[in-house]
C-alpha cells in the first residue's frame, strides 16, 4: 500500500499463517474463539457449527440442529455452553460436551445476525434483522425473552457485551449502548449502516465499522471520535472488525481479500494481510495472545505472530 510501515512491529501482529482449516461446511459465516482462545467455532452455511482445536486444527465436534445457515456463535466463559444464531430465526443453546440442543429460542421475526453471552453466561443476547435485541434467560425455563430491545429502527447487525453494558450496531446507522447500571441508552449516530461493533479491551472506547468503508473509534462516555480508520473496502457485506488483545491495533475484514490492520493511536495502516481472493468474511482475535482467525469462503485460517516452519509465509504488502 501507499503507507509505509512506520515501525516494524512484526512480532505484535499476526502476519504469519499458521494453519488453514478446511471446514467443509459450506461458507464459513463466522469464526470465533472460545473464552480462553484454545478452541475455535466455525459457523457454516450448511447449518452446522463446528468446534476445532486451534493448536492442532482437528475437528472436535460438530453441532447440527439449525434449520438454516449459522450466522454467529459464542461460547460461555466456562466452555460448557455455546449459543448460536441462524437464518432460521432461532437461537440455539448447545451443550458443548454432548452436542445436544439445550434450548431452542424462537421469537425473532427474521434471521438472527449476532448472538452473545453475558459474562456469567446466564443471559443470551441476540440481535436480529427484525430490529430487535432479545435477552434470553438461560437459567429459567422460560421461552420468552426477558426483555426485547426494539429501539433500533433497522436490523441489528452486531452486538457486544462488556460487563453491564450492551453495545449494538444497527443498519439504521446508530450505535446504541445500553447501560444497565445507570439505566440509560446512549445513541451515537454514524449515518452509515453499521456492520460490526466492538468494545476496546479497557471498555473505554467503542469501535464500529460501517458500510462507508470506515472504522470509527469513539469515546464511550462522550461519543467523540478518537480515530478513523479507512483504506479497506466495506461497501456491501457485513464484515467483522476487532481490536487486538492489547488494544494496540485495529483490524478489519475487507472485501478485497485482505485484513487491514491499523495502529490504534496513529491511525496508520500497519499491516495489510492478504488472506485470499474472495471477501474475508469474519475474523476473530485471540483474547490474550497475538493470534488471529480469518474466515474466507469455506476455510478458516489461523494467523500468528511467529511463523511456523511448516506453514507458508504470507507476503507482507
Amino acid at each position: 500500500m501507499a503507507f509505509p510501515q512506520t515501525r516494524p512491529q512484526a512480532p505484535q501482529l499476526p502476519q504469519h499463517l499458521l494453519r488453514t482449516i478446511e471446514c467443509q461446511q459450506g461458507a464459513v459465516r463466522a469464526v470465533r474463539f472460545n473464552a480462553d482462545g484454545n478452541y475455535l467455532m466455525s459457523c457454516g452455511s450448511d447449518k452446522s457449527l463446528k468446534l476445532w482445536s486451534v493448536s492442532t486444527g482437528t475437528l472436535l465436534k460438530s453441532y447440527s440442529g439449525h434449520g438454516y445457515e449459522v450466522l454467529d456463535a459464542d461460547g460461555s466463559f466456562d466452555n460448557s455452553l455455546i449459543c448460536t444464531c441462524s437464518s432460521d430465526k432461532t437461537v440455539i443453546l448447545w451443550d458443548v460436551a454432548t452436542g445436544q440442543v439445550t434450548r431452542k429460542l424462537r421469537g425473532h421475526a427474521g434471521k438472527v445476525n449476532c448472538v452473545q453471552f453475558n459474562e456469567e453466561a446466564n443471559v443470551i443476547f441476540s440481535g436480529s434483522i427484525d430490529g430487535t435485541v432479545r435477552c434470553w434467560d438461560v437459567r429459567s425455563r422460560r421461552y420468552e425473552p426477558i426483555q426485547v430491545l426494539d429501539e433500533a429502527t433497522d436490523g441489528v447487525s452486531s452486538l457486544k457485551l462488556m460487563q453491564h453494558e450492551l453495545l449494538t450496531g444497527s443498519v439504521d446507522g446508530r450505535l446504541r449502548r445500553y447501560d444497565l447500571r445507570i439505566g440509560q441508552l446512549h445513541v451515537d449516530f454514524i449515518n452509515s449502516p453499521i456492520t460490526c461493533v466492538c468494545f476496546s479491551q479497557d471498555a473505554q472506547c467503542t469501535l464500529s465499522s460501517s458500510l462507508d468503508s470506515t472504522l470509527r473509534l469513539l469515546d464511550k462516555s462522550t461519543g467523540e471520535m478518537l480515530g478513523e480508520f479507512t483504506g479497506h473496502k466495506m461497501k456491501g457485506y457485513k464484515l467483522d472488525c476487532c481490536l487486538t488483545s492489547k488494544d494496540t491495533h485495529v483490524l478489519s475484514c475487507s472485501e478485497d481479500g485482505h485484513v487491514y490492520c491499523w495502529d490504534l493511536v496513529e491511525g496508520s495502516l500497519t499491516l495489510k494481510l492478504s488472506v485470499g481472493q474472495a471477501v474475508v468474511q469474519s475474523l476473530s482475535f485471540h483474547p490474550t495472545e497475538t493470534c488471529l482467525l480469518t474466515a474466507m469462503e469455506g476455510r478458516v485460517q489461523v494467523w500468528g505472530a511467529e511463523p511456523k516452519e511448516t506453514e507458508e509465509d504470507v507476503m507482507d504488502t
Binding site: 461458507a27 452455511s45 445457515e69 427474521g110 434471521k111 445476525n113 446466564n122 443471559v123 434483522i129 427484525d130 430490529g131 435477552c135 434467560d137 426477558i146 426483555q147 430491545l149 426494539d150 429501539e151 429502527t153 433497522d154 436490523g155 447487525s157 453491564h164 443498519v171 439504521d172 446507522g173 445500553y178 444497565l180 447500571r181 445507570i182 439505566g183 440509560q184 441508552l185 446512549h186 445513541v187 449516530f189 454514524i190 449515518n191 449502516p193 456492520t195 458500510l211 469513539l218 469515546d219 462522550t222 461519543g223 467523540e224 471520535m225 478513523e228 473496502k233 461497501k235 456491501g236 457485506y237 481479500g257 485470499g276 481472493q277 474472495a278 471477501v279 468474511q281 469462503e297 469455506g298
Partner: protein, 908 residues
C-alpha cells in the same frame, strides 16, 4: 309419692332442682334452639337416621369400630403370665343403654334372695318336707332344719303371720264354688294326672262336702311360669331321685305316668297337666265370671282380679300394728290436654325476614349472596327444616367434620370495611321499611312546619329524597369508600357525555378522596336550580357508590377491558424523540462526533436482567420497560412527522425500492462496487410489494397523477424564489432546527428533478400507502415552506393538510407498518444476506475462480443498474458522494448544500 306425712318439714320434691344462682356469676346465655343437640350418655350425637336406615345411631356410626377404627382385642399369653380365661357374656357386646329401664335387657334393682318369695324356693321346701317324712331316718331333715337357718322369705313369714298356710292361696277366703265339674268327667280318660300336690287333693276333697258357712282359703295356684327353662340339660336330669322313689308308693299307683317322663321326675305336672276346657275361653263375647279379660287364654284364676275393697274386708287376720287402709289408693288421674282456642292455627311464624331484594342499590345477585352468606355471619333464625335446611357447615359440625379451609364465603374475601359496608347496607334496607311511615310522617310534618330535630340544617335544602336518612348514609358510605383512594385515571367516568357535569363529578370525587364531608355541596354548581342541584347530588352520590374503587384483592381478579382504544385516539409514542437527523448527518460529515451525534435516553432494563447481571435496578420503583412512552394523539399529523423524521430515510427510499422486491433483486444485486455504495440507501425492498403487485399498478397510476398534481400545486403555490432559500440556508445550520425546512428544500429539489423525471419514470411510484405518506409529507413540507415564506400561503396549505388529515385514519397503521417493515428490510437484508448467499452460491454451484465470481457480480449489478430507471439519480448521488469523499475540505456551506441534495435523494 306423697304419703301421709306427719311432719311439715318432710317435703317431697320432684324433678331435678335448679343449680343455686350465684350473684357475681354472669348469666349464662341460653343456648339457642338450633344449638341444642341430643346426645347420649357418652356424648355422642343422637342423630335420627330415619326409619329405613336404622333409627338412632348405635356404636360408632352404626359400626363396631371407633373413631380410630376397629381395634381387635389383643391376646398375650406366656408361660409366666398365663392369660386368664375370659368369659365373654352377651352383655359385653351390648350397649349400655340397652341395660337401662327401657332397654332390651334391663338391669334393675331386684329384691335380694331373702326377700324374694320365689316359687322355686317353695317347691324345694316342699320337697324337703316330703323328703323328711320319707327319709329313712325321720328326723333327718328336722335336724337339718335345726342346724340350717330357715330360709323363708320375709314375705312368707309375713303371710304366715297373717294366717296363711302353706298350700293355701293368698287372699280372702272364699266360699267354695262348684268349680271342677269337668274334672270328674275327665277322669275316665286313661292316663290322668294324679292329683299330685296338695292343692289339687285339697280341692278334690273339699269338693264333695261344702258347708254353707265355711269359707276356704283360696286355691293355691302355681302361676304359669313364663320364664324359659334355664337348664341346659335334657329331660329328667338333675332330679332328686329320693323324691321319685317316695312318691310313687305314696300315691299307690302308677296312674298317669306316661312314657318319656323321667322316672325320677318330681313335679311333672307342668308337663302332663290336663287342662280342662272350662278354663279356657270358648266363646267370643261371653263374659267370664269375675274375669274381665277377653280372649285371654291363660288360666283364669291366675289372671282374675280381685276386688281390693273386698279383699280388705275379707282379710282374715290383720297383723298387729297394722290397720286396714281407710281409703284405697287412688288411681292417678290423667287429665285431658287443654282444649285449643278456636282461632288457633298450628303454624309457626318467624320474625319477618328482611326483604333485601327490595333494596334499591343492591342487585338481586348480591342480595342472594347476602342471604346465603348471612347464615355464616349472623345466626338469627333457627334452622327450620331439619337436616335438609341445614347448610353444609351445620351438617359438617353435626358429623364432626373439620371446617373447610379457606374462605367459605364471598364476604370473607372482602375487606373488613367493605364487609361492614355491606352489612350496613343490609341493615339500612331494614330501616327504610321500618322508617317508612316515620319518614313519610316527617314529610308531612315538615309541611306542617314541625321538623324533627334529627335533620341538620344543611340538609333541609336538599330534596326530600336526599334528606331521608338512607341518603345520608349513602353519602357517608361514598365518603368512606373513596377516602384516601389514590386518584387514578382508570376510574369510570359516568358523565362522559356531559363534560361539565363530569368535571363537577370529578371535583366531588376529589373532595371525597380528601375526606371532605360536605363534598356534595362544594361540587354542585350553584347556578343551577334547586331541583337540578338536588338531582345531581343524588346522581353523584349514587354513581360514586356504584363505581367505587374496588379493593385490591377484588380488583386483582378482574382485568380491565382493553378495547377502549376505539374511543381514545392515542398511540403510545416514545417520550424522547430523537432529535433532528439532519443535524447529526451534518455533524457526521464534518466528523464532529460527540455532543452532536450523541443522544442519551432514559432506559429501563428488566428487573430480571439486572438480577442476572448482578446490577442493582436503576429504577427500582418503575414498572415500565425500555424507553418511557407517552400517549400521543393517534391521528395527529405531527405524529407522522416525527415518525418519518426519526425513521429517517425510510419513506423517501421507497420509490426506488419498490421497483424490485428485495428478494428477487438479491440475485441481481451484485453490482459494481461503486454503486453498491449507494445501494444501502436505494434499496428499500418493501415487503408489501410482493404481496400486492396488481394493486400497485393501478395505484401507481393514481398516485402518479395525484403526485403530479400535488407537485404542480406545490410548485405553483409554495415555490419561493431561489434567492430566498439561499438567503435562508446560507445562514447558519442552526436555523434548520426543524426538519420541515430541510424537507422543504428536498421538496424543492425533488420537484425540480421530478419535473423531468416523472413522466419518464413510471416506476418511481409508491404504492398506495406510500403515496399517502408522501402526500402527507409533501403537504407538511409545503406547510413548512409556507411558514418560512408567506403567511397567506400557509393558511391555504394548512387547510390542505387538514383536508388530508381526513383520510388519516387509514394511514397510520399502514404507513406505520410500512415504515417499520420497510425500515427493517431496507438495508439489512441485502447487505448481510446477499453477500453470503452469493458467496454460498458461488461455492456450492461451481468452483470458479474468484475473479469470475466477481465479474459475475459486477455483471449482475450492471444488469440491474440498467433495469433501474432511477439510475441517473443514483449516479448523481454517488458522484456527489465521491465528491465529498474526494475533497474533504470543502466549506461548510458547500457541505451543507450537498448534504441537502444528498438527503433529497435519500428522502425521495
Amino acid at each position: 309419692m306423697a304419703s301421709d306425712s306427719d311432719g311439715d318439714e318432710d317435703f317431697v320434691s320432684f324433678g331435678t332442682p335448679l343449680e343455686p344462682l350465684e350473684e357475681d356469676e354472669p348469666t349464662k346465655k341460653p343456648v339457642p334452639l338450633h344449638e341444642q343437640t341430643v346426645k347420649d350418655e357418652k356424648g355422642r350425637y343422637q342423630r335420627f337416621h330415619g326409619a329405613f336406615t336404622g333409627g338412632f345411631s348405635a356404636g360408632y356410626f352404626n359400626s363396631v369400630g371407633s373413631k380410630e377404627g376397629w381395634s381387635p382385642s389383643t391376646f398375650v399369653s406366656s408361660r409366666q403370665q398365663k392369660v386368664e380365661k375370659q368369659h365373654v357374656r352377651p352383655e359385653d357386646f351390648m350397649d349400655e343403654e340397652d341395660f337401662s329401664e327401657h332397654g332390651i335387657a334391663p338391669a334393675q334393682i331386684t329384691t335380694s334372695q331373702e326377700f324374694s318369695s320365689s316359687h322355686r324356693d317353695k317347691a324345694r321346701e316342699k320337697a324337703r318336707a316330703v323328703n323328711a317324712q320319707a327319709a329313712l331316718i325321720p328326723g333327718d331333715t328336722l335336724l337339718e332344719e335345726l342346724i340350717a337357718p330357715a330360709r323363708l322369705s320375709i314375705g312368707v313369714e309375713l303371710l304366715r303371720k297373717m294366717g296363711w298356710k302353706e298350700g293355701q292361696g293368698v287372699g280372702p277366703r272364699v266360699k267354695r264354688k262348684a268349680r271342677r265339674q269337668q274334672t270328674g268327667e275327665a277322669r275316665p280318660y286313661g292316663c290322668v294326672l294324679p292329683p299330685a300336690g296338695s292343692e289339687d287333693s285339697e280341692d278334690d276333697d273339699d269338693d264333695d262336702f261344702a258347708p254353707e258357712n265355711v269359707t276356704f282359703a283360696p286355691k293355691d295356684v302355681t302361676p304359669v311360669d313364663f320364664t324359659p327353662r334355664l337348664g341346659v340339660q335334657g329331660l329328667g336330669r338333675g332330679v332328686d331321685c329320693s323324691e321319685a322313689h317316695s312318691k310313687a308308693p305314696a300315691e299307690g299307683g302308677v296312674a298317669g305316668q306316661a312314657f318319656g317322663v323321667g322316672a325320677l321326675e318330681d313335679d311333672d305336672e307342668d308337663v302332663y297337666q290336663r287342662d280342662s276346657m272350662s278354663r279356657y275361653d270358648t266363646e267370643l263375647g261371653g263374659e267370664e265370671p269375675g274375669d274381665g279379660l277377653y280372649g285371654w287364654t291363660a288360666p283364669q284364676q291366675y289372671t282374675k282380679k280381685r276386688d281390693k275393697n273386698k279383699d280388705a274386708s275379707y282379710l282374715g287376720k290383720i297383723l298387729e300394728g297394722f290397720t286396714l287402709a281407710q281409703k284405697t289408693v287412688e288411681d292417678k288421674t290423667i287429665f285431658a290436654p287443654p282444649t285449643l282456642p278456636r282461632d288457633y292455627r298450628p303454624v309457626h311464624r318467624f320474625h319477618p325476614s328482611i326483604p333485601i331484594a327490595r333494596l334499591s342499590g343492591v342487585s338481586p345477585a348480591l342480595a342472594e349472596a347476602l342471604r346465603t352468606s348471612r347464615g355464616h355471619m349472623v345466626k338469627e333464625e333457627p334452622q327450620e327444616g331439619g337436616r335438609h335446611k341445614m347448610d353444609s357447615s351445620h351438617r359438617g359440625a353435626l358429623l364432626g367434620e373439620d371446617a373447610l379451609q379457606g374462605p367459605s364465603s364471598v364476604m370473607e374475601l372482602l375487606r373488613p370495611e367493605d364487609r361492614q359496608r355491606l352489612l350496613n347496607l343490609r341493615n339500612s334496607s331494614t330501616t327504610p321499611s321500618a322508617n317508612a311511615p316515620a319518614s313519610s310522617s316527617h314529610r308531612t310534618s315538615s309541611s306542617g312546619g314541625s321538623l324533627p330535630g334529627s335533620l341538620t340544617g344543611s340538609l333541609t335544602a336538599q330534596s326530600s329524597a336526599a334528606t331521608c336518612p338512607p341518603a345520608l348514609q349513602q353519602q357517608q358510605e361514598a365518603l368512606a369508600s373513596w377516602r384516601g383512594v389514590q386518584s387514578s385515571a382508570q376510574t369510570f367516568r359516568p358523565f362522559d357525555n356531559n363534560p361539565s357535569k363530569q368535571a363537577r363529578y370529578e371535583l366531588y370525587l376529589n373532595s371525597l378522596r380528601q375526606g371532605d364531608k360536605d363534598a356534595l355541596e362544594q361540587s354542585v354548581d350553584s347556578g343551577m336550580t334547586e331541583w337540578e342541584r338536588s338531582r345531581e347530588k343524588e346522581e353523584f352520590v349514587r354513581s360514586s357508590i356504584l363505581y367505587r374503587p374496588t379493593s385490591s384483592s377484588l380488583s386483582s381478579r378482574f382485568t380491565r377491558a382493553k378495547d377502549k382504544e376505539s374511543e381514545d385516539n392515542t398511540v403510545e409514542v416514545s417520550r424522547d424523540q430523537e432529535s433532528d437527523v439532519d443535524d447529526k448527518q451534518a455533524a457526521v460529515k464534518m466528523k464532529m462526533f460527540g455532543k452532536l451525534t450523541r443522544e442519551t435516553f432514559e432506559w429501563h432494563p428488566d428487573k430480571l436482567l439486572c438480577k442476572r447481571f448482578n446490577v442493582p435496578d436503576p429504577y427500582p420503583g418503575s414498572s415500565m420497560l425500555g424507553l418511557p412512552k407517552v400517549k400521543r394523539d393517534k391521528f395527529s399529523v405531527f405524529n407522522f412527522l416525527t415518525v418519518t423524521e426519526s425513521r429517517e430515510t425510510a419513506p423517501p427510499k421507497s420509490p426506488e425500492t419498490k421497483k424490485k422486491s428485495r428478494w428477487d433483486d438479491s440475485k441481481q444485486k451484485k453490482k459494481v462496487k461503486e454503486e453498491e455504495e449507494d445501494e444501502p440507501r436505494t434499496q428499500p425492498a418493501l415487503p408489501e410489494d410482493t404481496t400486492e403487485p396488481e394493486d400497485q399498478q393501478s395505484s401507481d397510476k393514481k398516485k402518479k397523477d395525484g403526485e403530479e398534481e400535488e407537485e404542480e400545486e406545490e410548485e405553483e403555490e409554495s415555490r419561493p424564489p431561489m434567492d430566498l432559500f439561499k438567503a435562508i440556508f446560507a445562514g447558519s445550520s442552526d436555523e434548520k432546527s426543524s426538519s420541515s425546512e430541510a424537507e422543504e428544500e428536498e421538496e424543492e429539489e425533488d420537484t425540480k428533478e421530478e419535473e423531468g423525471k416523472i413522466s419518464t419514470q413510471p416506476q418511481n411510484l409508491f404504492n398506495i400507502s406510500n403515496v399517502k405518506t408522501s402526500i402527507t409529507a409533501s403537504s407538511t413540507s409545503v406547510t413548512s415552506a409556507t411558514t418560512s415564506t408567506s403567511q397567506t400561503v400557509k393558511a391555504v396549505v394548512l387547510s390542505q393538510s387538514s383536508s388530508q388529515e381526513e383520510f388519516g385514519p387509514k394511514l397510520p397503521p399502514r404507513s406505520a407498518a410500512l415504515i417499520r417493515g420497510g425500515a427493517t428490510s431496507i438495508r439489512s437484508p441485502r447487505e448481510e444476506e446477499k453477500p453470503r448467499r452469493t458467496s454460498k452460491e458461488k461455492k456450492h454451484k461451481n468452483k470458479k475462480p474468484h475473479k469470475d465470481k466477481k465479474k459475475k457480480k459486477h455483471k449482475k449489478h450492471k444488469h440491474k443498474a440498467k433495469q433501474k430507471k432511477s439510475k441517473k439519480e443514483e449516479s448523481d448521488s454517488s458522484e456527489e458522494d465521491k465528491d465529498q469523499e474526494g475533497d474533504g475540505q470543502v466549506s461548510t456551506e458547500e457541505l451543507l448544500k450537498r448534504l441537502k441534495s444528498v438527503q433529497s435523494h435519500q428522502t425521495r
